[in-house]
């Protein structure tokens, strides 16, 4: 049941998907894997939307050069507070109705089952395909949705994986070559792609609209292009 306060807090979105939709968000647990450029807006908007439990996963501490895009981390967190803890501190003050759980460490084949236990949706905010494929495999084993996002430069991509309904990440990107080292990226593209990922989560949980199933959205903010590629 939603409290009076919650009904007021979420009034504007209850107008979209009803109290029933809001209760679904409240009773859900979403994992945000990677609390960086994408993870910041994703976690922020999911907290704003009233997702009952958000699990934040990352092994790093923020660095100065992260702050052009990783807006949940502040100067005072630099090289001190691991990203999940830095983000938890702000999100708990932003929305005291929700629960923020953290895992500081790297996801591995050994720990993934324990760490992601009980999660309803996984949001891929990672910076490497090796761990993405680990999430992909887990999502398929447990048959839970995975919202993929990635950015580079002014460009980004989003697609939503639903086991049994869509292609897997491995099928979509069979020969990914990892580019090691630092890559160019500007804050707003992480903001746009992360916002779209957060919306995908809300759609999956409430049944609103149509998620990007078997469709890959390609965004380039340098030219304001939004293209959808059919993956079937």
């Amino acid at each position: 049941m939603l409290s009076e306060k919650e009904i007021e807090r979420y009034d504007r979105q209850i107008m979209i998907f009803g109290k029933e939709g809001q209760e679904k968000l409240k009773n859900s647990k979403v994992a945000v894997v990677g609390v960086g450029g994408l993870g910041s807006p994703v976690a922020y908007y999911l907290a704003a939307a009233g997702i009952g439990t958000i699990l934040l996963i990352d092994e790093q501490e923020p660095e100065l050069s992260n702050l052009n895009r990783q807006i949940l981390h502040w100067e005072e967190d630099l090289e001190k507070n691991p990203k999940p803890l830095s983000a938890k501190w702000k999100l708990e003050r932003f929305n005291s109705d929700i629960k923020i759980e953290t895992f500081v460490g790297r996801l591995t084949a050994e720990n993934v089952d324990d760490v992601l236990d009980g999660v309803d949706v996984i949001v891929d905010c990672l910076d490497n395909f090796e761990t993405r494929f680990l999430l992909d495999d887990y999502a398929h084993r447990k048959r839970i949705p995975l919202v993929h996002g990635a950015v580079e430069g002014t460009f980004g991509q989003v697609t939503t994986i639903v086991p049994g309904k869509t292609k897997s990440l491995r099928e979509i990107f069979p020969n990914v070559k990892e580019r090691k080292g630092k890559f160019p990226v500007i804050g707003p593209i992480a903001g746009v792609v992360g916002s779209i990922q957060a919306m995908e989560v809300i759609k999956l949980l409430t049944g609103l609209g149509e998620p990007l199933l078997n469709r890959l959205l390609l965004v380039d903010l340098a030219y304001n292009t939004f293209d959808v590629v059919e993956l079937r």
Binding site: G37, G39, D124, D127, E152, V176, A222, L231
Partner: protein, 114 residues
């Protein structure tokens, strides 16, 4: 005409055809470039006249000849298709897919940053 010669001679390299063959049928395809490819090539799309019925893989060979910057900065020498995704008329395709006249082919790199 110059363009045709270029592509025809490329075709010749691919299949050991004599490059002065007249009877090669031609088709037009529109190639759209995304992300890094767009900045490297310097335009969002172009229409090309290419031999009829070539595959995606053969089109990429033609693009590499046409835009050496793609060859040098995007496709490594070995395993040179590893880093490119292709859609044909808005649908994701594999490299052995055969192209038809009027097709719109988009090429985009998978990005991995977060």
């Amino acid at each position: 005409m110059e363009e045709r010669t270029l592509v025809a001679s490329h075709r010749a390299t691919l299949f050991n055809f004599p490059s002065n063959l007249f009877w090669v049928m031609w088709m037009k395809v529109t190639v759209r470039y995304f992300a890094r490819y767009r900045s490297l090539v310097g335009k969002s799309e172009e229409e090309l006249e290419v031999p009829d019925g070539i595959t995606v893989r053969e089109l990429i060979e033609i693009l590499k000849e046409r835009h050496p910057v793609l060859k040098n900065e995007v496709f490594a020498e070995e395993d040179d298709l590893a880093d490119v995704n292709v859609s044909r008329n808005g649908r994701y395709v594999r490299f052995d897919e055969v192209l038809r006249d009027g097709d719109i082919v988009a090429i985009f790199p998978p990005v991995s940053g977060g």
